[in-house]
């Protein structure tokens, strides 16, 4: 654990891996820009964020985002700007709008339905009842099969 401590204490440099030629001077602004990059799709690449991509378009988009960040616009303003320019496709995290509701809600709705079905099944057939004839037969069969 001491090794770990040494390794990790040394630095805190979120924005380090962006190209030094592109980097913003203010580390806080650069960190914000990096966070945004991860949400923005490189439109000409197959499936990469502009943070990961080395394509020219990604470079241009990074510049756009950096310019907006240094111009003092908020994250949401920058997202809106990108959407107005390139469509919702540019965001890797789709906005939570009515049209995208199924996308965001379905996973949790499914989980809820699954839980409800399980609860219903468990309620419908209480186990506390004495063994029926079938169950006795089944018990006998199971004992025959081996106890595992």
């Amino acid at each position: 654990m001491k090794r770990l401590l040494l390794a990790l204490m040394a630095l805190f440099c979120i924005a380090a891996a962006s190209d030094p030629a592109e980097r913003l001077a203010d580390p806080a602004q650069e960190a914000r820009a990096r966070n945004l990059f991860q949400e923005v799709r490189c439109l000409v690449c197959q499936n990469e964020s502009i943070d990961d991509s080395t394509a020219d378009l990604a470079h241009d988009l990074r510049q756009v985002v950096r310019e907006q960040v240094s111009a003092g616009r908020s994250d949401q303003q920058i997202r809106d700007f990108l959407v107005a320019r390139y469509g919702e496709f540019v965001l890797l995290k789709p906005p939570m709008t009515a049209a995208n509701l199924p996308l965001w809600a379905l996973p949790f709705v499914m989980l809820l339905i699954g839980g409800l079905l399980l609860a219903l099944r468990l309620r419908r057939r209480p186990v506390a009842a004495p063994l029926s004839e079938d169950e006795e037969a089944r018990l006998a069969q199971l004992t025959r099969e081996g106890r595992d």
Partner: protein
Amino acid sequence: MIVELGAFCLVLALALSLAQVGLSAAGVRRPVLAGAGEGAATGAFGALALTFAALIFAFVTSDFSVANVAANSHTEKPLLYRVAGAWGSHEGSMVLWCLALTGFGAAVAWFGKGLPRDLKARTLAVQGALGVAFLAYTVFASNPMARLSDIPLEGRSLNPLLQDPALAVHPPMLYLGYVGFSVVFSLAVAALIGGRIDAAWARWVRPWTLAAWSLLTIGITLGSFWAYYELGWGGWWFWDPVENASFMPWLMGAALLHSAVVTEKRGALPGWTLFLALATFTFSMLGAFLVRSGVLTSVHAFAVDPTRGLLLLGILGVASGAAFALFAWRAPALSPGGLFAPVSRESAMVVNNIVLTVAAGTVLIGTLFPLIREAMGGETVSAGPPFFNLTFVPVMVVGLLILPFGPMLAWKRGDALGAAQRLWIAAVAAVGAGLLAVVIVSPRKAVASAGLALGFWLLFGAAAEIGQRVRLFKAPWPEVFRRMGGLPRGAWGSSLAHAGLALFVLGACFETAWKLELAEVMAPGRAVTLGAYELTFDKVGVVDGPNYLAERAVLTVRRGGKAVCTATPERRFYPAGGQTTQEVAICARGLDQVYITLGERRGTVDGAPGWLVRGYFNPWVQLIFLGPLLMALGGVVSLSDRRLRLAAGRKTGAAS
């Protein structure tokens, strides 16, 4: 000549698969015909193996009169990648798919000696029908042996990114996994036709599921590892549609593994196990469709061809549609199976199944919703990593929190208090580890530390599972060792797999939260620090590779002033395709890795030549790949359980 022989064998395999369907279907009542059906299954596999060998031969000898070879190979490509080129293309990969499909059919014929005769014949008939569909598609719509009239002098090469040993073996593993689930699908359809499902059937489903799932696990891990070191920035999972296509059958397969145990041991949930068996291979076929249809944009997609996509969608629709219709018709007549209390191992398994199925459903929604919304006239949207982190991850966390309780509960009626008592040490230790992480790991990250606590909870839970079975600290040591020796392999397998999952969670949390990055323009002699490490840029040389030219940098990685490793990242240029790639240099230190790439040449401030160097410190990253391999190992260990191997012979009597 050999190519024509291969083409002939491909058609022969189709004919033999047709015969397999007819003979096996008729063989349900007539053993002689069933035997002939088994022969046809073996023959189809043999014929397809010859086709595959012929295709590899065409690639190795660079026979550019074959369209597929001309489009996907090059004389300057090293031998291994010419061989791997045979399955690197759309047509070739379909041959591999069919080879696996007929191979599993033959395996049922050969190793299915203990299966009830009628179940075996029906299974072979269904497996043959699947073979017919995919072989007919291969023969008529994607023939790998088609010749060109104008023979080019040189091939159009394979993407240099794909020239990599991990990627050469990744598709065969993946396909064996994908297609392995076809056997389970066939067994399920056969059981539905026969109208009988019992413990013996579930005992037959389990080994095939285990084998397919383990292979798929290895295949996905290899693919992820390839992306990690080949794409050059240290990412290992992208929620790319093609990754998702392989991940969905994996999740469903994992659910099936668990529910098959319940059906085998308790006779409970037979309908649900059947449903999962059908759904898992449906997801495999969906994956095959998604990758090849071009409906989704992905780095891994094969050449886009809507017609082929439509045909594959047709196969998927007919096969799964028929199977699920049969399920809807026959399943209600199945006995509901054993009863269980709300707190019992069965319930825990059901929760596991709900979580895994919902997780697979979440991946499905994330993958297909953009398509659906676009098709309904809406805007095109993207569901990328941020979406999955906010949906898939919380769903899985629910399951992972509950997981350690499952093995601690008894079948039928468990003792919640007892399970909690057996797990409290694990829980306290896990929370302690999480708190320790908050205190000592800098910078402080609460959520990631909670993730670590979750990982340790799984790890200690897996240990507690074994500890409880051998009565660790409860019985005297000789007794503990005796019990350890007597523990069934299945128990070891499940604990290993759960421990593997734990390691993966630990690695994924740690790497994601605490990795360090740097990018600097470096001239020879310059040094930079990366966490506790110091990277010194020594020199750059030129390398003349077999089919590329490269600049190779030499960097010394130091820690506390002592050299620990020499890194040689490369920047390669492949003249054949005009592409430039980066070869990453990785220094593994314990569980961590220092990961270095060499970028383009640039002038430094004082005008001297410099290179853009990116360095990453990826702590605990090795666990991300070791964990899943341990899961696959768990599957294999479980597969070697005597009870599964002997199940065949022992169970035929009880099956009637």
